[in-house]
């Protein structure tokens, strides 16, 4: 039995190494995806194109605009005179955030009733959330600074004053260090790994069926399970290489601090890779050709992204939707990856997720082998 598995593995490695071009793509693809994704996110959070209509043009209003731009979140790309002009710039897509400062800003600040209107392009979820958070936080920080300055000048400094709790509020809202990326990189590792393993495995089996070689293999004494195990071996190696490159780039390039135990992460990632391989096998047994594999895989990726907690927190989902999310291995690995990489927690805190992932791997592998046997016809 082991001899036959070894034989199939040798065959798969010969074939994998023979097609160097595809192999290079398979190794490079996640790297490229990570770079695109990583930069897409950083540019969305920073340097949001902003148009400012400063109708006061006094020292206080200029100081406020400075506070916005020095944060790095907002790039003032144009100045306007009216609110209408600001709106039309956002409509046209030239700016994603507009700031309108009404006339007499300095005077109103003195009277404690100054108002700033901030318009955010709501069509871009990521940007608008970042812009909203950043703008309110900066405004509050700026306001509190003014109040503090004023109090200092009047000599009535009361640090325990309870009606100015801006410090704490600011910390919640303000997101100075691209923490989104810290949060997203572990999720991306999970996502890209799933994409790779599922596609590679499903394609490998379906291709064998499409070109007809599966028939000549099945007519030998190779058992279906042996064939499947042998077939996924090279994909596992590729997936591990992918995992290490993504992780390496995340840590060394995007400067995501790796808080937890690397070897724990590595071991659990290995377990996770098996879940993707199993899902790929299952996919291949229900697909007739490569196109169907790609369509099904695309569907799994999109649903996985939406339902796994990668973007939207699972705690906010209705129970039925949360249940559907359990189909995707991503759902189990994201809390593990975030826990180890970002929070630095150990196995003790991840027991449930690890158990769920292990159970998932066992179930999916059995299911894949079983359906594979059934579908020889």
């Amino acid at each position: 039995m082991f001899k036959r598995i070894w034989t199939v593995m040798q065959k798969e490695f010969i074939q994998t190494l023979r097609d160097q071009r595809t192999l290079r793509i398979q190794i490079m693809l996640p790297v490229i995806q990570l770079i695109l994704f990583g930069y897409a996110i950083t540019t969305q959070v920073n340097h949001i194109p902003t148009i400012v209509a400063d109708q006061s043009l006094d020292a206080v209003s200029r100081a406020f605009v400075d506070a916005l731009t020095t944060s790095g979140y907002f790039d003032v790309i144009a100045a306007a005179t009216s609110q209408a002009e600001v709106v039309s710039a956002i409509d046209a897509g030239r700016a994603q955030v507009g700031v309108v400062i009404p006339p007499g800003f300095a005077a109103h600040v003195g009277l404690d009733d100054a108002q700033v209107l901030i318009l955010v392009d709501g069509s871009d979820l990521f940007t608008s959330q970042s812009a909203y958070n950043a703008a309110t936080a900066i405004a509050q920080a700026h306001a509190s600074q003014i109040v503090v300055q004023r109090l200092q000048r009047s000599g009535q400094v009361r640090p325990d004053q309870s009606w100015l709790p801006l410090d704490t509020r600011v910390r919640i809202l303000y997101n100075p260090d691209l923490k989104d990326l810290w949060f997203l990189i572990p999720g991306m590792i999970a996502m890209l790994l799933q994409m790779q393993t599922v596609t590679l495995t499903a394609a490998a089996v379906v291709r064998e069926r499409e070109v007809g070689t599966i028939e000549q293999l099945l007519v030998t004494p190779i058992r279906p399970a042996e064939l499947l195990i042998g077939k996924i071996a090279p994909n596992m190696v590729i997936a591990l290489v992918n995992m290490l490159t993504i992780l390496g780039m995340g840590v060394f390039w995007f400067r995501v601090p790796f808080q937890g135990n690397f070897w724990l992460f590595f071991a659990l990632a290995l377990l996770y890779v098996f879940s993707g391989l199993g899902l790929g096998l299952l996919l291949s047994t229900v697909s007739q050709n490569q196109r169907q594999v790609q369509q099904l895989n695309g569907m799994i990726m999109v649903l996985g992204l939406l339902l796994s907690g990668f973007i939207f927190p699972r705690s906010a989902m209705p129970p039925v939707i949360r249940l559907v999310g359990n189909i995707f291995p991503l759902t189990y690995f994201i809390p593990i990856a975030r826990g180890i990489v970002t929070k630095g927690i150990g196995l003790a805190y991840l027991r449930n997720e690890v158990a769920a992932l292990a159970a998932y791997v066992v179930v999916i592998m059995l299911l894949a082998t079983w359906t594979f046997r059934q579908r020889l016809d």
Binding site: T7, E215, P221, L376, D377
Partner: protein, 331 residues
């Protein structure tokens, strides 16, 4: 079942074998309807050492029958055994003892000739020492010695089939099942392939089960089964099958084909009419009497009749005759 028991069984036994494909829909469809039977109650026996030809037009069910015998497809009803091992319950015992060439070229095309031979040898559990002896032998036998480093996908059609044969023989099976092994290869390669098979039969006493649509290949078999619409129409030696055609056979070339065909088919004493290229083959009860009558009837319509003569019915005529009768029964 023990091997000793297996020795007493014929190479292949099928009894009332039925295979119905499930209609499209796959695992996702819950309602599985039954399609028409691709193999419809076939009974046959292939003795050890025999060369058995399964003949039939495209879609007759040859591939399906072969796959069911090997346990690659689940049978719907009946019995199928290879060396006494049940196709469904003991497929691996069968697969260790037989070689198979699929209709479509099914060897990994991105592996070299040598890698292919090694792979199938390993998978069949052929030891290293045996491999060192067998592989050069088979390469020599198949005329592939010079091409060991070539990718299998780059071989010509004939060489691909020879490589497939070599791979299927690597574990010294007692039986090979060949599904249209000469499909799409040139006549010279076809002859070469058959002479390879002839050597195997003579030297090793190999049992050969071969599917083919070619009548000349059928004549090379000890026994032939004619499959049509999933049913075994006849199963006998080529000599006996040739007798199946009715009456005597007249061959001629009419100057105006379509009207001649219509006319002759309606004449008294014409049992059956077949077309053969630009020629007509008329089976008649009495060739001496009917020959002038046919010539006269055609001349009356202004149609010349070139080269009319009586010929020996060949396999081809016998098969067409049998199939035509079978088709009429179906209606």
């Amino acid at each position: 079942m023990s091997d000793a028991q297996g020795q007493s069984w014929p190479a292949i036994v099928a009894r009332d074998l039925v295979k119905e494909y499930k209609t499209a829909g796959g695992v996702l469809s819950s309602a599985r309807q039954r399609g028409p039977a691709a193999v419809d109650g076939v009974s046959l026996t292939v003795a050890r050492g025999e060369t058995f030809g399964l003949i039939g037009p495209d879609g007759a069910g040859k591939t399906t029958l072969t796959r069911v015998l090997l346990g690659l497809l689940a049978r719907t009803a009946g019995e199928s055994r290879v060396f006494g091992y049940d196709s469904m319950t003991e497929p691996y015992a069968i697969r260790e003892r037989v070689g198979y060439i699929a209709q479509r070229f099914a060897l990994p095309a991105d592996m070299t000739v040598m890698e292919n031979l090694r792979f199938f040898a390993d998978v069949q559990g052929v030891g290293r020492a045996d491999q060192r002896r067998r592989i050069p032998e088979l390469l020599e036998f198949a005329g592939l010695t010079k091409f060991t480093k070539l990718l299998a996908g780059r071989l010509s059609g004939g060489m691909k089939k020879k490589l497939a044969l070599a791979c299927s023989l690597i574990h010294e099976p007692q039986l090979v099942l060949l599904d249209e092994p000469t499909l799409g290869i040139d006549p010279v390669s076809r002859r070469e392939f058959w002479s390879l098979l002839g050597n195997l039969r003579a030297e090793k006493g190999l049992t050969i089960f071969v599917c083919t649509p070619y009548m000349d290949e059928a004549e090379r078999c000890n026994r032939v089964g004619l499959l049509y619409n999933g049913r075994l129409v006849t199963c006998d030696t080529p000599a006996v099958i040739k007798q199946a055609a009715p009456g005597h056979l007249l061959e001629f070339t009419p100057s105006d084909f379509v009207p001649a065909q219509r006319l002759v088919a309606g004449l008294a004493g014409v049992l059956e009419l077949q077309t053969y290229g630009m020629m007509l083959h008329a089976f008649v009860d009495d060739p001496l009497a009917r020959r002038p009558q046919i010539e006269a009837a055609l001349t009356a319509q202004g149609i010349f009749c070139i080269g009319i003569r009586e010929i020996e019915p060949r396999m081809e005529e016998a098969f067409i005759s049998l199939i035509t009768r079978e088709a009429r029964k179906g209606i």
